[in-house]
Structure formats: C-alpha cells, structure tokens
C-alpha cells in the first residue's frame, strides 16, 4: 500500500489527529513579526545598471501574497461572516435538511476553490446546540458530511463553548469525531483555567470519554495554571499527562518540573514515578534547562551502554538553536559565513557545551554544514587527529545527506577513503541508506543517475544499493542495475541476498 493511500485512509479514520494537526499548523504559522522586522532592516541592493528594483521592494511586493497573512485574513473574514449569519439566520425546523441542501452546493467547488461557509457554520451551531450527538452521527454518513465537519467544526465549537459553556459539547464525545469534541472542550476549559470545572465533568462522562478529554489538557492547559494540571495529574495518577504537558511547554515547563522534583513539593510516590520515567529523561536531553552533567547522567541511565549521549545532547541543542535563531547552514551554503565563523557563533550561544564538550559540538556543527558544502565543512576537522577525522566524516556519510541531491552525497564521499575493511563496510552502509531513501523519493530517475556515474567503487556500491532498493518498486530496473555490477565482492553479496 502506498504512502499516499495510507495518508488518505488516515484521513478517514484519524480525523482527530487531522483536526489537531490543522489547529497546530495554524498556531505554528501565526506570524511572529520577525520576518517583517528583519526584512526591513536588511540592506537595500540595486543592480549594477541601477534600473532594477531594490531587493527590499521585491520583498515587500511578494509579502502581499504571503499565505500566512492570507490565512489570517481568511479566518477573520469567515469569523465575521459567521457572526453575521448567526445574527440573521432564521433557524429552520429541519436543520439536517437545510444543512444537506447547503452542503450539496458547497462540495461542488473543487478543493482549490473551496472556502468555509458561514451558512454551514451557523446551521451546525444550532444543530450542535440542540443535539450535538445527532449532528455527529450525520457527519459519519459520507464524504461530504465529513468534509463539512473538517472545515467548520472548530469555530462552531469555540463559539458554542463561549456561549453555553464547554459542558454543552459533552454529548459529542462519541463516535468517529469524538476527539474533535474533546479537543475543543479541553481548549475551552483551558481558556477558563478552572481545573475544578474540568474535574466536575468526570462524573458525567464514561471512563473512556473522560480519559480522552483529560489527555487533551496536556495540549490546551495554560502554563500560568501549571499547578492545576499537576494537581490533576496527581489525582489521576498520570505522570505521563504531566510529562506531556511539560514537553509541550518547552524549557519553561522543564524548568518548573525539575524545580518541583528538586524541592520535594510534589507527592513523594508521584515524584518517584516521574523521575524514573523515560520521557522525563528524554525531556532532559532537549532544552538546556538542567546542568550538562545532570543531562548526561540521566541519558546514560536510561540508554544502552554504548549510547553517545554527549553527541545526542549536542545534536539536540544545535538543531534547536539553528531552528530558533539564524539558520547558519543557509548562510554557510551561500558563503555568507565560513565554517569557523559558524562554530564560533554557535559556541557563543551554547557556552556550557562549548567549554565542557567542544569536540562533540564541533562534530555536530560539521554534521550540519557538511550537507551544504562538504569540502568547506572539512575545515572544521583539520586540527583533529586523522583517525578521528575519518571517523566523523564516515559517520556523517552514513547518518546525514538524506533527502538531498545525491550528487552532494557523492561529493562528500571524496573526503572519506575506503582502504580498510571497516571504512569499506561503512561506505556501503551509507550507500544502502541513501539509495533506499533516494529510490523511494526520486524513483527511476535515481537508477538513471546511478548508471551514469563514472566507473569506480562508488558506482559499484551505488549499483548494488540501488538494485536492492529498486527491487521493491521496479523489479525490471533492479535486474538491470544488478547486471551492471562488476565488483566481485558486491556481485557475490547481491547474489547471496537473493537466495
């Protein structure tokens, strides 16, 4: 079954996730303002002839088509129309019939031209107010009704919670769309920040319904009312709930929990469960809340003996930094900064790691930069002993270079010899990994690329690994690739794998 089919089916059965994903996406894409600020601050450039547009003007020009801004305008427009429709609507006696009529026209628009309908939202609002369970049963009747729920339920539930209280949605905690309802209720209750009001619902819900609602609080409860969610997690004996909440709240959450664990303010047996939980150990890895030594100890305790915990911490901190701060990889790729400059900037932002684990930090920065320009990134490793340099470069070849132009991977291999059995094995493992990903993504074009490579070990390994990868997708191409292998060892290896 193809990935797309899987996603399609996920769409039909895991609507909850989809809706939550939607909401997460909208939130994650809320404009931060950074873009506008920095783009205005950048220097203005004109072309040599002086008759082109200043780059700032081009940036300004394209900002008008910014999809996030459009989304915001669209949401505001839909909300205003919804309010107007609610005020004007003459509620029909048979809402289902009216809604079905509306829907018939609405779904005819192809997906490209579809917009949320204020009329549908208003009808859904009244139906949900009257009989939310009945509405959700109807929603399961076919693709169109399902689309209607997908597009409209969140604003409807939000408004209904505001007008009649989150409790008014409780009868909608059944069926395929139950988790939509649970999320909307948890969000509304989170806005009130009233944990007792949330707990009061418990007695009126089934165990499964309550748990579905309760577990959503990790996502919706405000950090300002964190003590309440701790109270709830203890009352329910759910360390996972609190850990999930802490994970979502990032470093502020982790700092708060580590403080509580340190000062003994939590119930002793609950605190013990928390501190032993692997999730807490993993949380300690991300976000430099705890001292480095403590982070290392935690990860060592829960992992395999040969786990490279310092490397994992460096990876977590560096990728986080590059995501939240300037993306130095891009600056490096376009020669706005060299490797030493990037390392210096990152060290400045991660002083503890830079002073206590400089090698791990350097290796991590190398991993990040090697994908962008392997030759210039090698400068970072110049001062290292040769064995170490080879080990890091070989590790990069294996674990990085996924989903990029395979030519860049090939270029990176120029810096890694294959003159020992270990390096040869590692190189083949790197090719296997890359060909598996590349064939899936680039399809038969990847096979064509492999066959055009110049003769040599990399062509042989590429043929071998691509043949293995292609076998799953296109057996004819796989056979052609196999037939071109000339390296005796690889020939034997692939023959053995087919027995």
């Amino acid at each position: 079954m193809s990935k797309s089919r899987k996603i399609l089916l996920a769409c039909t059965t895991h609507l909850v996730g989809i809706a939550l994903g939607w909401q997460g996406w909208v939130l994650a894409h809320a404009p931060s303002g950074t873009n506008q600020e920095t783009s205005r601050a950048a220097p203005s450039k004109r072309d040599a002839a002086g008759n082109g547009m200043a780059v700032e003007d081009v940036f300004e020009f394209v900002q008008g088509s910014d999809s996030v801004e459009k989304e915001k305008r669209e949401v505001a427009r839909a909300q205003a129309e919804f309010d107007r429709e609610l005020a004007e609507l003459d509620v029909p006696a048979d809402i289902e019939a009216a809604l079905s009529r509306e829907l018939e026209e609405w779904v005819k628009d192809d997906q490209d031209h579809r917009k949320p309908s204020a009329k549908i939202m208003a009808l859904m609002y009244h139906w949900a107010a009257r009989d939310i369970a009945g509405m959700l049963k109807w929603a399961e009747s076919g693709a169109a009704a399902q689309e209607a729920i997908m597009w409209h339920s969140f604003p409807v539930y939000e408004k209904l919670s505001k007008d009649k209280g989150p409790e008014a949605l409780a009868a909608g905690l059944n069926g395929k769309f139950a988790a939509f309802t649970a999320h909307a209720m948890a969000q509304a209750l989170g806005t009130t920040g009233d944990i007792d009001r949330a707990l009061a619902l418990k007695s009126s819900l089934s165990k499964a319904q309550w748990e579905m609602l309760r577990d959503r609080f990790a996502h919706t409860w405000p950090i300002e009312r964190k003590d309440d969610i701790a109270k709830l997690a203890i009352a329910e004996n759910q360390p996972e709930l609190l850990l999930q909440f802490v994970g979502i709240k990032g470093s502020e959450g982790a700092r708060w929990l580590s403080q509580m664990l340190a000062d003994g303010s939590l119930d002793a047996s609950f605190a013990e469960q928390l501190s032993k939980n692997q999730v807490w150990d993993e949380l300690a890895k991300s976000g430099s809340v705890l001292p480095l030594n403590e982070r290392i100890d935690r990860l060592r305790r829960s992992g395999d003996a040969d786990r490279d915990v310092v490397g994992e911490i460096a990876q977590s901190d560096v990728t986080q930094l590059l995501k939240e701060g300037r993306d130095w990889r891009y600056a490096f790729r376009h020669r706005e900064a060299d490797a030493a400059k990037v390392l210096a900037e990152i060290s400045k932002s991660l002083p503890e790691l830079a002073s206590k684990a400089p090698d791990a930090l350097r290796a991590q920065v190398y991993f990040e930069l090697a994908e962008e320009d392997p030759a210039r990134a090698m400068k970072l490793l110049e001062g290292q002993p040769e064995a170490e340099r080879l080990q890091i470069a070989s590790q990069a070849a294996k674990s990085r270079f996924a989903n990029i132009d395979p030519n860049d991977f090939l270029a990176a291999l120029e810096h890694v010899p294959a003159d020992t059995q270990e390096l040869w094995d590692s190189r083949l493992a790197a090719w296997n990994e890359k060909s598996h990903l590349n064939y899936r993504r680039l399809s038969d074009d990847y096979a064509t690329w492999v066959r055009q490579l110049p003769p040599g070990l990399d062509r042989e390994m590429a043929l071998y690994s691509a043949a293995l990868a292609a076998d799953h997708w296109n057996s004819e191409v796989a056979a052609e690739l196999r037939a071109e292998i000339t390296d005796e060892v690889l020939k034997q290896k692939i023959a053995a794998s087919r027995q």
């Binding site: 769409c11 996730g17 082109g52 989304e71 074009d445």
Partner: protein
C-alpha cells in the same frame, strides 16, 4: 500500542499537511491582483520609504526576483521566516519566469531542515515545492514539458509529484490524460490525487473514471481503476450493478462495474449483504471478496460479515492482508462489545491473530473488571482466552498503569511461547517507564 500512537502521529502530520494544502488552495482563490495586495498588506511604517521609491509601482521582473533571491542569504533569519519569504518570492517569480524560479529552488538543498522527516503531501519533503502550486495548476502542459525535459536531472521526480498534486486539485482529467507520460512509480499516486480531488463531486468523478476507461483494457488499467474506486460513493442498487458486471466480458469495464457493486454494499446490513452474496457465482467469489475488502473512504457497515464471508470462502490471504487493514482503519467507530464478541468466533490461524488483538483491545481497556470476568469465563487453554490475556496485560500497563493487573493476566497464560512474548512486551513497558525492578 506503540503502533497506535504512531498512526495517530501520522494522522496529525497528515492534518498539518492537509491544513497547509487547503490554506494554499484558499490563498489561490482569494488572490487579488498583486499590486493591490501589496498596498493592503503593507506595514504602515514603510509608507514613507515607499513614497521615495517610484520603481515599486511596477511588478518585479525575472532579474529582480533573481537578485532578491540571492540577497536572502545575507539576512539573519530563522529558517521558518526565511523559507516563508522564499516561497513568496518563488510564487511570484514563477508567474513571470517559471524556469528561473524552478532553477533557483532546485539549486537549494532538497530536504526539510525545518521539521526533519515531515512531509507535506506531494512535496517530497522539499520545503519550496508548494510555491509552484499555482504556476503548475495555471499552466499544466507548459510546466509538465519543462519539468520533464531533463533539466532538473535526478530531482525531476520531486517536481513531477508536486505537479500531480497541484494540477489534480482543479483539473484531474489532465492528470489522468498524462499517465502514459509518467514514470511507473508516479502513476498510482496520480490516480489517487486526481480521484481524491473529486471525492465530493460525482460529475467530476465520473469524468475521471471515463478518462481512465480510455486506456487499453489491461492489468495496469484495472489496477488504476481499483485504486480509483476507493473514492466511489456508497450508493447504487447492488442487484442492478451485479447484473451489469456479470454480463460484461473480463476487462476494465467489468472491473469498474464490480467495484461500483462493492461500493454499493458498503452500507448494506448483515442480512442484505448475505442475501446479495448468495447470488455471487462460486467462480467469482475470489474477485468479489477482494472487491468488498478494497479499502475505501466510506466505512463498511457490515465489515465483520464481509470478513466472515472471506473466511467462509477460504480466502485467507485476503483476510490476512485486507481484513486486518480494514479493521485498523474502521474499528474505532464500531461497538466494542459487538467487536469483541465477534472476535471470539475467529478460528485459530496465523492470519487471524492480529485481527483478534485489534478487535478486543478497546473492549478490554474500556472496562478492565468486565474484561477480566469475560476472560475468566472462557475455557482454560482456549486460544481466545490466551490471546485475550496477553492483550489484557498490555492494556493494563499501557492504558491503566497497572502492573499488578498485568501480572495477573500474564500468570494465567498457559502457552509458554505466548507467555514469553507477552512478558517481553511487559519488559519494554518497564524499561520505558522506569518501572524495572
């Protein structure tokens, strides 16, 4: 358990993808002329500087976009802001010079450093691809010629996939008409995308199916038709539809007719389904079972009866592959008591083990004391009891944080091999939660 969590994560990811997709689409709909947009969306603080720059009244040309693109690297932007700016540039650039915009995007890294591993549907994980949605949809044939020209070498498939997603949204017939020009791996994705875009519009759906039937009647076309049929609405008269397929010669027309018959039975109750099944000739039952269990967007009302029919017909491979898959997608909407009761009728075979677990997990976790009583009533050694106990242990640990209840269940398991396996699951939980002794 882990698997379940994973599928939910996937669903959330799919939701994000869908949200991003829909928003892109709506943006295209609401796009006013670019100049007006710039005026309206312009921050007030830049009005003054703007008035000193008369050049801004015209639209940027291809070279202006190129220059702006090259200037992006000097800006100290976090990745999400940078990519957002670049996508805006590419979208407008593609309007005036598609080739230049595509060249610029493909010269960058093709991966997703913003959210590694996350992939918006159709983008192959390349962060810039969505920017070409409108250009591909507006000029499908020109853009197809460009991206198929070999100019983008080994990266061409990334662009083809985005082309399929973009054009499918408004013009699925064009996508279907290009299947012959697509590489093997892309064709089925294209059928899915085109059909999905027409899921709620019967006229467009009919046009797509008609286009598919124009292809020669061979195995490939039949495979496409089966995929396309996942999107068929659950309507029509099964008797009429059966008469249709049973009179047609083997080939595409017959396959589609049979798929329509299968779709028409999605909402049939148990009795109606069995009644209809009785009229299916013996020789057609393999194909008929396969049809009834083809995964579709519509939840089959009598899924358990369909699986029963497949078992009665001895179609064990279909039961194992498709029965299991259907249950995974659709069991969450079923009555848990009915499902668990049905599970106790399953014969003991390798093909039914996973089906059994997924049919009793919710019943067990919803009410542990009830489940315990249910299991205790079964004969010792009965395979349903054995497997039920193993699942009980899992639910006790994973959903109720109750190692004692798990221990009770594990100690009742008679089969040493199963006991060992279930103890292994428990050790996984102990390690993950730090509860190991």
């Amino acid at each position: 358990m882990k698997h379940r969590i994973a599928t939910h994560t996937i669903a959330i990811a799919a939701g994000i993808a869908l949200a991003a997709t829909l928003s892109g689409k709506r943006s295209a709909y609401s796009a006013a002329p670019a100049e007006e947009e710039t005026q309206a969306g312009k921050p007030a603080s830049t009005h003054e500087s703007r008035s000193r720059r008369p050049s801004v009244v015209r639209k940027p040309r291809a070279e202006d976009f190129k220059q702006a693109w090259d200037a992006v690297a000097s800006k100290a932007l976090p990745i999400s802001d940078r990519v957002r700016l670049q996508k805006n540039l590419l979208e407008k650039w593609a309007e005036v010079h598609l080739e230049g915009a595509l060249d610029a995007a493909m010269a960058e890294a093709w991966d997703n450093d913003r959210s590694p591993g996350f992939e918006v549907l159709g983008t192959s994980g390349n962060l810039y691809m969505e920017a070409f949605r409108k250009a591909f949809a507006d000029r499908p044939l020109d853009s197809w010629a460009l991206i198929s020209s070999g100019r983008y070498g080994v990266g061409s498939e990334i662009l083809r996939k985005q082309w399929v997603t973009s054009v499918s949204a408004s013009d699925g017939v064009t996508v279907i008409s290009m299947l012959g020009e697509m590489p093997k791996g892309l064709k089925e994705f294209a059928v899915d995308q085109a059909m999905r875009s027409a899921e709620t519009n019967p006229e467009r759906q009919a046009a797509l199916l008609a286009k598919l039937l124009e292809y020669p009647s061979d195995q490939q076309t039949e495979r496409w038709l089966k995929r396309a049929s996942a999107f068929l609405p659950a309507d029509g008269d099964p008797v009429v539809l059966r008469e249709q397929w049973s009179t047609l010669p083997a080939g595409s027309q017959r396959t589609l007719a049979m798929m329509k018959w299968g779709a028409s039975l999605k909402k049939a109750d148990d009795a109606a389904l069995r009644e209809e099944w009785a009229h299916v000739p013996e020789a057609e039952r393999t194909a008929a079972v396969d049809t009834l269990l083809t995964p579709t967007a519509t939840e089959p009302k009598s899924l358990l009866t369909i699986i029963d029919l497949a078992m009665e017909a001895g179609e064990w491979t279909t039961v194992f592959q498709k029965g299991q898959e259907n249950l995974r997608w659709h069991s969450s909407g079923m009555d848990s008591v009915k499902l668990a009761t049905w599970a106790t009728t399953l014969p003991e075979r390798p093909e039914t083990v996973e089906i059994f677990h997924r049919s009793v997990d919710r019943y067990i976790r919803e009410d542990m004391p009830r489940a315990r009583e249910w299991l205790e009533q079964m004969e010792p050694g009965d395979w349903h009891r054995e497997r039920g106990l193993a699942e009980y242990s899992q639910q006790a640990l994973r959903r109720h944080n109750d190692p004692e209840a798990s221990r009770w269940a594990l100690d009742q398991i008679a089969d040493p091999a199963l006991k060992q396996q279930a103890e292994g699951w428990r050790r996984d939980w102990e390690r993950e939660t730090g509860k190991a002794n």
